[in-house]
Symmetry: C2
Subunit: 389 residues, 2 copies
Amino acid sequence: MNAFTYHTPTRYVFGPGAECRAGEELAALGLNKVLVVSGHSSARRSGVLGRVTDALTASSIEWTELCGIDPNPTDIKVRQGIEICRSRSIDGILAVGGGSVIDTAKAIAAGVPYDGDFWDFWAGKAVVKEALPVAVVLTIPAAGSEGSGNSVITLSESKRKISLRTDVALRPKVAMLNPELTFTLPPEQTAAGIADMMAHIMERYFSPTPDVAVTDRVSEGVLQAIVEEAPKVMADPTDYQARANIMWCGTLAHNGVCGTGCAEDWSSHAIEHEISALYGVAHGAGLAVVFPAYLTYVSRTKPAKVAQLGRRVFGVGESDDRVAADMAVTQLREFFGSLGLPLTMRELGIANPDITYMVERLHQNKGKVIGSYLPLDAEATAEIYRIAK
Amino acid sequence: MNAFTYHTPTRYVFGPGAECRAGEELAALGLNKVLVVSGHSSARRSGVLGRVTDALTASSIEWTELCGIDPNPTDIKVRQGIEICRSRSIDGILAVGGGSVIDTAKAIAAGVPYDGDFWDFWAGKAVVKEALPVAVVLTIPAAGSEGSGNSVITLSESKRKISLRTDVALRPKVAMLNPELTFTLPPEQTAAGIADMMAHIMERYFSPTPDVAVTDRVSEGVLQAIVEEAPKVMADPTDYQARANIMWCGTLAHNGVCGTGCAEDWSSHAIEHEISALYGVAHGAGLAVVFPAYLTYVSRTKPAKVAQLGRRVFGVGESDDRVAADMAVTQLREFFGSLGLPLTMRELGIANPDITYMVERLHQNKGKVIGSYLPLDAEATAEIYRIAK
């Protein structure tokens, strides 16, 4: 187990009607004038946006809207948001949505008090020292951004998709989670969210750090809960209890508790980011394709932890690591398939993936060698893209 | 899964030398003049107290000491601490020790800015609204007080032992955890700590709330890690990795993540508190006696979750709940026994426990019926004391 610091000061308010507490929660943070960031029409149509803004008004908090955040959000809306905040002396951001909306809110929050261009933080030229407080009403359990200090933004011009990781600077102050808000998610979005949260755990789990019994066991526990609850939400999208379990799994998957003391990996995310940046696919669906391909590749030379995943999460009984690892990958693939997720790039709608280009971009963005469980060079990542074809 | 709020803003600094960061960590909290609270001579003898105060001095933080905190700490030292803090305008408390020291530090922190008597909070006559910031250098992984908002204090005169639970008011701002500091713990203290942390998880796990798959799985994961790592620390007290895993388990056991969405139980703690208040035994050793007795009792009418514990944590293969529950209790008892823990009140050194008196006090302190997994009246708690004899 490595030395670590772990600091997750986000306050989680979980349960039916959580979004209606936006007023009191933001007032408790001392906010007076907030930017409400949201996606396209669904939050408005479902009434959640109205309930949230009513709650703000009832608590005498002024608000301005920035809507229309796209999946794989870009710098364009971030710049718009920063301008609005500066011109109206806004003192906090409330994201109402999923990962794209929250990540945009965080980028705006970082950009407002910063003299230079906000992209400096994503480009590694500056470190976020201060930011407007960010609050969240979560509507899509997937990205885990409601409990993380991270934000993934794509530069619209170059399509560079970069994940910024901060310790606490960009962690939401409060996250309101109402599982009922997820009842109306289309099945493909529910499924992609499940793949995303599983990937967040596995990116930490596939670590070269030995002797992390407690972190492994916690991670395996959350994965087991997802595997148990996912079929229930797919069968009945209005099953409150299953939705609640999945929603909380998504937060725990990414707030850091599944990675304490571990060198993390994150190569599957990096590999997937090139796919979604280039072909605009849903990140979670992309991960359902990439992660099994990644595990197939690493099992060839380092099957031990893949086998452990199989035994502890999927009930694989096989004692030989190599065989157990193969069985684990098969089970994971079958599980993703049972949720209706794509299993190949072809099924993602990419008939002729430009692997050479993606590999080139990947290593330009992330360095010659990526990952830590098994360090991957361009030859390795090209092979993973080929396995994923 | 019940609605819940979960807010654990404690910053954990974990690894070798963590205590040497006391200066910078407390300076980052803006503290200038702190009260360093510790137990008897061990922290001084081992050198940890010296390293901590050197670090404070190096960061230009003034400090005053309050030492000699006993196990099962009382109001006497709390009152002394409050006086010192007020007379010297102290702005923060640093606990260097285990649960008793941390709980005393929290009680002092709550008492200093309060006009009335600090015991009002424990007596339920007032609610903690403000407190001095508390920081911790942990030396005994057991009580989990480094990550909780709770504090257990005994009133010296009446021997009333009361646990105060706060949401965030008394949560430490920062907890420094160096597993090396636990190398020198005597085996009986290591073992009692392990029983204590397991009990903290099980008090949450034995909940009447259904559909808490993720919380159950996380709890079972931490319990499994404890069961795996405990024999290693008992066999080699200087096994850093095993000590690190056990230390982090102790924090996760009690910082709330094992209880999200559950009505918690806490009857075993209440039953044990009467034993340790009256006979002065170590709390963890008392729990090793009480918890299996509690589980024996509840298994008679509500074996399902005891059976689940057996199957998922102790590998019990039995399908009948009643039988599996009995096997779970036997395994738990054998596990405690393997750590050298007492299994009966007699082995605790209490030849003739005054059950009538303890039952009377228990229900005076906690109400006619205690617990939530299976509500227990005086007849039930008397039977549990008898099973524990």
